[in-house]
Symmetry: C2
């Protein structure tokens, strides 16, 4: 089996908890501890035996952590922690603000190179596995078109936006791909569809006492950027129903590449995820890439990297010879 | 754009023809020529301007071919040509006898290393893209199960087996995945299904004049290894119908990985190919990997490699920075 890879978790929300659960499924990885900005004693890890430390104690742990998995958010945590921690640790993160990835890559690359560390940014499923499939699709069928569909899934950003509407006590929002759009894309006809044409939005809202339902609905469906351009349905439900029926965080989607290899022949490649828990799946991706990052660093590949730079076999606990015999 | 990569095609059947078609879709690759064991003047390339040379003239062309794409068969061509040509060329092939891949890898690895060349073996879709998805699936969901389904697609091996039955003038065989089995696997229940339980076989047969249909049917459905263990349907049709309705070579299938990231949550990953032309798609995969092999060799990675050793980004004509900005 070789040596065990020692993992640290930085940040313990839904994602950090998912990483702890994923590590339990990977016997060649071991959890050194959870590092948090909150008072360590306030955390309750899934396994009570896991030690919890203050985040700022990480500086003394460079010798006993092989890869640090950064589980903070993309808005404020990672832009600060990513570059700082990549200077002294091999890291994996799920930075997911698509438009800022090039900038974040550069911010992490310098410190990681200077420290001889490997920092894999933007792992997860989108960015992440979906990005890989967009890259393969384009390379295999250069004369073609790629479409990404998201859902059916709970969108955290859209749920948060609804919660900011006056009169809303609680809410969740689901993004739903249009079956008609999926069928058109699968047929290989390469329709030109906007994100709006490919998805609808469904909201489940708990009103504050005395709030005006019509006013709240209008405020939601007319909200610029988030809902105004979409076909949006709003359901008002009780707090009880929300807790009972909408506590899970399902998500997923499709990446479909269709293209022609000749005038006569259309080919369709489809990658689909159906996730009962978005954070647990994202966490599982981070953990598999932690194994790969440890190996990349041992090979001397330092600096920032992305999932597009990592050979598939490097994610596996199996040896290259085993993979050739069993999976090829 | 950088320099153009110079490609040679060794062997010109359906696959070689598909490679010629695929190269026309990739402007950063250029076709130096087709190399064949047949009399060169007997070949008709898709583009009449493409030069055709005898296979044994390859030895004088090591300086003007960056990557040689081997389009021979796995039974007798590649076991001989693969090791011999990898000594003096970077190569890509589609060796697809799954059980013999480790042995073939070793046979190619030695000469390639000695010659400082890179030889990518067993590219295509299975082995190939399906192998990649089996590896990713296992690594991302270690507590899970992988199922591969093939079809609906024309199986060359099974069609050939039917043609050897006395009384058969011509035939094609389609492998059809069972929808019930697909649904069970997609549900995440991880059923234990044999290949037989996951597929049925459908045969379209043209009889020789005077042949006994019942005898032929019995000989087909009872054939060991090929049909005896399967639910097999035989249709007798005219030669005209066979030519009109069964000349295409569609294929495809699914790789489905389902697994648990915790007791509470099942996750399902599905990769699906719907191919109107099996040889043209396989050829497109070989061509994208030819680009990657050229780069791997430039990076000093010599010897035999497989698709599991190649980072996804290396297949793309785009730069890493472009890929990060556009696809991540």
């Amino acid at each position: 089996m070789g040596t065990v890879i020692r993992i640290g978790i930085a940040g313990y929300g839904n994602l950090g908890r998912g990483v702890e659960a994923a590590l339990a499924k990977n016997p060649d990885l071991t959890l050194v501890g959870i590092f948090t900005r909150r008072p360590p004693e306030s955390l309750t890890p899934l396994d009570p035996a896991v030690p919890v430390f203050p985040l700022d104690s990480l500086s003394g742990r460079t010798g006993d952590i092989d890869v640090l998995i950064l589980c903070g958010g993309s808005r404020s945590d990672l832009p600060e922690q990513g570059p700082a921690l990549a200077a002294s640790f091999n890291t994996v993160d799920s930075f997911d603000t698509h438009a800022r990835i090039p900038e974040y890559f550069d911010a992490v690359d310098g410190p990681a190179r200077a420290g001889g560390r490997t920092a894999l940014i933007s792992a997860g499923w989108d960015p992440g596995m979906f990005s890989i499939n967009r890259a393969y699709g384009e390379a295999l069928l250069p004369d073609g078109a790629t479409d990404t569909f998201w859902g059916r899934g709970l969108s955290q950003g859209h749920s948060d936006a609804i919660r900011r509407v006056p009169g809303v006590a609680a809410a969740v929002q689901y993004t739903i791909p249009s079956q008609e759009a999926i069928d058109r894309v699968r047929s290989g006809e390469r329709p030109e569809l906007t994100t709006r044409e490919k998805h609808t939005r469904e909201c489940f809202v708990v009103l504050e006492p005395g709030a005006d339902a019509d006013k709240v609905r209008d405020a939601i469906v007319g909200m610029p950027n988030y809902f105004a351009d979409y076909d949006t349905t709003v359901h008002f439900i009780s707090d009880e129903d929300l807790r009972r029926d909408h506590a899970a965080m399902p998500h997923g989607g499709f990446v479909i590449r269709s293209g022609n290899t000749s005038d006569a022949h259309t080919q369709v490649i489809e990658y689909r995820l159906a996730l009962e828990s978005n954070p647990e799946f994202t966490a599982s991706v981070l953990v598999a890439y932690a194994r790969a990052v440890h190996r990349l660093n041992a090979q001397g590949r330092v600096g920032a990297v992305t999932v597009l730079d990592v050979p598939p076999g490097l994610l596996s606990a199996k040896t290259p010879a085993q993979l050739r015999a069993e999976l090829l």
